[in-house]
Each structure stands twice: as C-alpha cells, then as structure tokens.
C-alpha cells in the first residue's frame, strides 16, 4: 500500500497535534492549573494517528485512561477538550468527567475510562450494534499491555471472534502497566500471541512507525468492514513520560537509558525524516505544522480558562434521561 501525500501529511498533523496538546496539558497539570491526574500519550502518537486516519465519524472507538491522544486523532475539538480538563461547563462533559472520561459520542468516541479493561466489553457492544444495524461501521478498541491481563479483554476477544464482529483490538504495548514492566506482569513477550486462542489473527507492528501502523491498521479495519471479523493488532510503543504527569526520567521503575533509546525513535521525528526523504515535508513545513498546532492549543487553553465552572445545580443534572434526551 503506498500512501498518498495527503494521507501522510494528515497522519503527521494528527501526531503533532497530539504531542503539543499533551505537552501543554502536562505543564498545566504539574503547575496545578489542571486538577486531578493526567495520563499523557507522548511517545505513542503513531498508534492513535495511524489507526484513526482510517476511521469515519460513524466508526466508534473505546479508549483508556490515557485517552487524549485518541480523541485528538479522532478529530476532537481542542477547545472542548481543554475546557473539560479544566473542569469547565464548556467542556465535552460539562466538566463532570475530566481527563479520565473525556468523550464525544458524535465522533464515536465512547469515552476515556478510569477502569483498566473496561473498554473491550463496551467495544463489542458497539460492534454488535454496527452489525445489527447492517452498517459497515467498525469499532476500534484501544487497550494497554497491562489491560491485556484483565478478564474483560478475554471475554470481549472471545465474543468478538465468536460473533465475527467488525472490531479491531489495538493493543498499545508501551511496556508498562503503571510502574510494572511487561516481563513482570505477563510471561509472554507478544500479546498478539493471545489472538490464536480466540480464533482471530494477531498482528505485531512497530508502534513508533506511523506508516507501518497505518498499513497494518488498514488491513485489520478493511477486514472488519468486510464482515470477516476481528483482529488483534499489537503496537510496540513506549511512554516517554511518567505514568501520570510529564516526568519521564529518573524514575525508580525503569532506566533512563531505556527511555533515551526509545526517544531516539520518536514517532514524530521518525515520520518527519521519512517525509523529508520523500520530499513531502520540509523542516520548515514541519515547524509550521507544530506552530499551527501550538497556536490552536494555546487558543483552546485561553478558551478553557475563560470558561465558567459549572453552576452548583449542575451537580444533580445529567444523571438520568428524562424526556427524550
């Protein structure tokens, strides 16, 4: 599959927007301006961008606690996203969800989730619904290496294969479940090895290589759209920052050398080199993409900070659906 110029630039732009969104969000959290805990996606941008570039608004995704990147890549409104992180009424969830529950049902983004492993079983429901309604929409379930040990993944994988659901399980294997490295939480090296036990293909891809992710995801998604059933796509990636916040080095649970090695394969740097080589993106162009994203993000932050907090009476609203919605 050779990618068009537009597609390549599209992927690149999504990745840069995620990176800038996360870097700024991280600073705001560390400075105490954004309340709560942020799980940042920096280092893993190629996965969200490579997959999401294939999706329509009607295609659903289930996300994780590390969900900003997924929503940005799915086309999320940065203003509403930042407003949510700040807990403002203009946010995606009117400030009621925050980072861990950020969502946009209109974009098929069924929510970040505070419960590890919650996504897979929700994803089979969305996929079932797509099939039931005779659409060719697909559902993509993002989950981590740590989440691959929750029983919910197992149940969802078995049901998806049994019902041949239009679903793709995208495992973001960043080598750690919180502060526990993969070899300390499972005896297998490749999570894709679990696919065979459910009767679905298991594919491994370099999660730092956006083009590789795009191609592998393309096949899995096409397969799902054609009604041929689910695929387990394992993306080998790495979390540059800490589990929560922005600190990436000098942590007790991994060596700085490991971080340095992975950073050499920064997914954005990697893609920009490939694009430069193909004469598709010059250094200047790359910079202007970043500047554009930064301007957008700064605008979103200004919007968010200028937005009001929800009024006290909002506390008891949105719990139940009354008339209509």
């Amino acid at each position: 599959m050779s990618l068009s110029r537009e597609t390549l630039l599209d992927i690149h732009r999504r990745m840069v927007r995620i990176r800038v969104f996360e870097e700024e969000a991280g600073k705001l959290m560390e400075s105490g301006k954004v309340p709560g805990a942020l799980h940042l996606y920096v280092g893993e941008e190629a996965v969200a961008a490579g997959v999401m570039t294939h999706l329509r608004d009607q295609d659903q995704i289930t996300s994780t606690h590390r969900g900003h990147g997924h929503l940005v890549a799915k086309g999320g409104d940065l203003k509403k996203m930042y407003a949510e992180l700040f807990g403002r009424v203009t946010g995606y969830c009117k400030g009621k969800g925050g980072s861990m529950h950020i969502s946009d049902l209109d974009l098929g983004m069924l929510g970040a989730n505070g419960i590890v492993g919650a996504g897979p079983v929700i994803a089979i429901g969305a996929a079932f619904s797509n099939k039931f309604r005779k659409t060719d929409n697909v559902t993509v379930c993002f989950f981590g290496d740590g989440a691959s040990n929750e029983g919910t993944f197992h149940e969802a994988a078995n049901m998806a294969a049994l019902y041949k659901l239009p679903l793709v399980f995208v495992c973001e294997n960043n080598g750690f479940g919180e502060f526990t490295s993969q070899e300390r939480h499972q005896a297998v090296h490749d999570i894709a090895d679990r696919a065979a036990g459910y009767g679905m293909p298991g594919v491994i891809v370099d999660g730092m290589d956006a083009i590789a992710v795009y191609e592998a995801a393309g096949e899995a998604i096409a397969r799902a759209r054609r009604g041929l059933g689910p695929t387990l796509l394992e993306c080998k990636t790495y979390r540059f920052f800490d589990h929560v916040g922005i600190r990436g080095m000098g942590v007790i649970y991994r060596d700085d050398s490991e971080v340095i090695e992975w950073r050499k394969r920064d997914p954005i740097g990697l893609l920009e080199a490939q694009l430069a080589e193909q004469g598709i993106l010059s250094a200047e162009a790359a910079t202007s993409v970043r500047d554009g994203a930064l301007a957008e993000v700064q605008e979103a932050i200004v919007f968010a900070e200028a937005s009001p907090f929800p009024p006290p009476e909002a506390l008891m609203e949105d719990i139940y659906t009354t008339a209509g919605l």
Binding site: A156, N158, D318
Partner: protein, 335 residues
C-alpha cells in the same frame, strides 16, 4: 394502574407474563434485542425467553458465552449506539461477576459524559431463596443497586407487575434493573394481553388499611397480605404497600400511609442488616417522626449466607408468620 383496570380477566403465570412482555416489546421496537446465557435455543433456564428465538431469530435473541462482564458490556455498548438491549443475568448472585460494568460503566456513563448519552438498557435477573440452591444461587442484593446513582431498580411482586414493570423498564431511556423472584414464577394472576406500563417510581397500595402499614417488596408482598389477615384478630387493619420500584422510591405514598396509620414495618427477603428496608425505615422516621406511635420494624433474612439444607433454609426465608411476630414485637404493649 391496578389489576382491576386490566382489559381482560385472562390469567397468566409470572413466567409467562415476563415472556409475553419480552415478545410484545420486541414486536413493538425493532431495536430491542435480548442477550444472555441460554436465552435462545433453550429459552432460558427459567423459561422466560421460551419461543423468542423462533419468532425473532438469532440476531435479536442472542445466546452468549459464559462471560457476564462481556454480556453486560455488550448491552452497554449497544445501548450507547442506538439499540435497546435487554441483558439477562441468569441469577442475581452472578451480578458480582459483572459488577464493574453495571456500577462503574452503565450507571455512570451518562453523567461522566455530561449527559450526552442515552442508555435504554434493561438488565433482567432472578433473585430469591427457597429452592435449595445454596449460598450462591439464592441472594437478594437489591440494596447494592439502589445505592448507585444512575440506575433504576424494580422488583415485581406478581405476574401483573412482572409484565407492566418490564414494559416500563424496556421503554425507559435509562438503565433499569429488573429483579424477578424465582419462587414466584409459577404464581398466576390476571394479566392484560395488551402492552401496558406500570409507571416507574409509583408505589401500589395492595391492601388499604387504617392503623398499620407494611411496606413489602417482591415475594414478601404476598406474605404480608397473609400476615395482614392474621393480624385482624389483633385489631389491626393493615395497609400493605408494594413500592414496585425501589429506585426511585415512592417516599410520598409510603409516608402518607404511615402518617395515617402511625405504625409501620418493612419486609424483604434480603438480609436485614443493610437491606433496602433500612433506607425505607430511615426515611419513614425522618418524614413521619411526629406521627409514629412505635418504632418502624423490619423483617428480612438473618445475617448468614443462604444455607442449602431445607431444614435451615425454611428458618432463613422470611414469611407471614415472621412478619406477624415482628409486628407484635414492635407494638409490644403499645397496642
């Protein structure tokens, strides 16, 4: 709506009433489907889905693997994307296996998303002891779910309620937990053929009375009616109220009754300590304190797991005699 308004004197068993509600609701709305373990080919171990597969086919009557979390998640994901699922969890005891999906996902999604979700999901399960099924197939755990904002909880006390509440639950745009009682499945009563709704959140005065109020749920409604007869000799004209919906609870009807009768007792099959009866009793004494002539009594199961041996289980499950005894105890020398 009371049984007298029923359009026909037709009698139906509880299990048939539930099955009829499912079938009629699936005819009415093409987005309704039901999924669960052995709900299709076998028609459910309790018989509540018998015949559905033949009429609606495997796309809408879905047999699932033994994966309760998966089943509940499937219901949630489908509800969030435009369908109106009915999820069957065979025994209420198994809700523990999918508790996270029910409590952290189903109940909270709408609120966490700032209201931007419509979740017309019905969860159907079977509660109750008395069938020699021991500790893991006999529990009544309604109190857990009534404590969870975002859920509605109903507990039918007979065939008429079983159908009417199921219709209201499935048509409701919120997650509703329907708790049926396995020992009532053979019970018969008048059930209209037409689709009818019993409004959620509205209690039913099953037996009007003047000087004592018994609030009973599920199987204890029938037991309370028996108890009421026995208490006539005590000079008690007992009003028996079936809340029908436990969440939201119809405080108004119950409090109005107690303000009239001045004495009250709550009866449920679940363990007494921490049961929903505690909430009802607490509310009654809060709202009707100055009207109470005696403490609000509670009848529930003792604080033990459900025993297997019939010899012990008959001691375990509350009944009319236990209710009568408790009424007399709390009235003591106050009568």
């Amino acid at each position: 709506m009371t049984a007298s308004e029923a359009t026909t004197p037709r009698q139906l068993t509880y299990v048939a009433a539930v099955g009829e509600a499912f079938a009629q609701l699936m005819r009415e709305d093409q987005t309704v489907f039901i999924c669960g373990e052995d709900v299709g080919l076998y028609g459910s171990v309790f018989g509540v889905t018998r015949g559905l597969l033949a009429e609606f086919g495997p796309d809408r009557v879905v047999d699932t693997p033994i994966s309760e979390s998966g089943i509940m998640g499937m219901g949630l994901g489908a509800a969030a994307t435009g369908l109106r699922p009915i999820v069957d969890i065979m025994f209420m005891d198994f809700m523990g296996v999918c508790m996270d999906e029910v409590v952290n996902q189903v109940a909270k999604m709408k609120y966490m998303f700032g209201g931007k979700a419509r979740l017309p999901l019905t969860i159907h399960t079977m509660a109750g002891a008395g069938t020699s099924m021991a500790a893991q197939h006999s529990q009544s755990l309604e109190a857990w779910f009534c404590h969870v904002p975002g859920l509605k909880v109903v507990m039918p006390s007979g065939p008429y309620e079983a159908k009417g509440l199921m219709v209201a639950a499935v048509r409701d745009d919120n997650p509703v937990l329907v708790i049926n009682t396995k020992t009532l499945l053979g019970m018969r009563s008048e059930v209209p053929e037409a689709l009818y709704e019993i409004p959620l959140g509205k209690a039913n005065i099953v037996r009007p009375g003047t000087n004592f109020t018994i609030v009973a749920i599920g199987r204890m409604v029938g037991e309370s009616l028996k108890a009421a007869e026995q208490l006539v000799d005590d000079g008690l004209d007992v009003e028996v109220i079936d809340p029908r919906t436990l969440q939201p609870f119809d405080t108004e009807t119950v409090v109005a009754s107690v303000r009239k009768t001045h004495r009250a007792l709550i009866a449920h099959e679940a363990v007494r300590f921490g049961g929903i009866g505690a909430e009802f009793a607490a509310q009654i004494q809060e709202e009707a304190f100055d009207y109470l002539d005696a403490p609000v009594g509670r009848v529930g199961a003792p604080f033990s797991p459900v025993p297997f041996s019939p010899a012990l289980e008959k001691e375990y499950v509350p009944n009319a005699d236990r209710i009568v005894a408790e009424v007399r105890r709390i009235l003591g020398n106050r009568v």
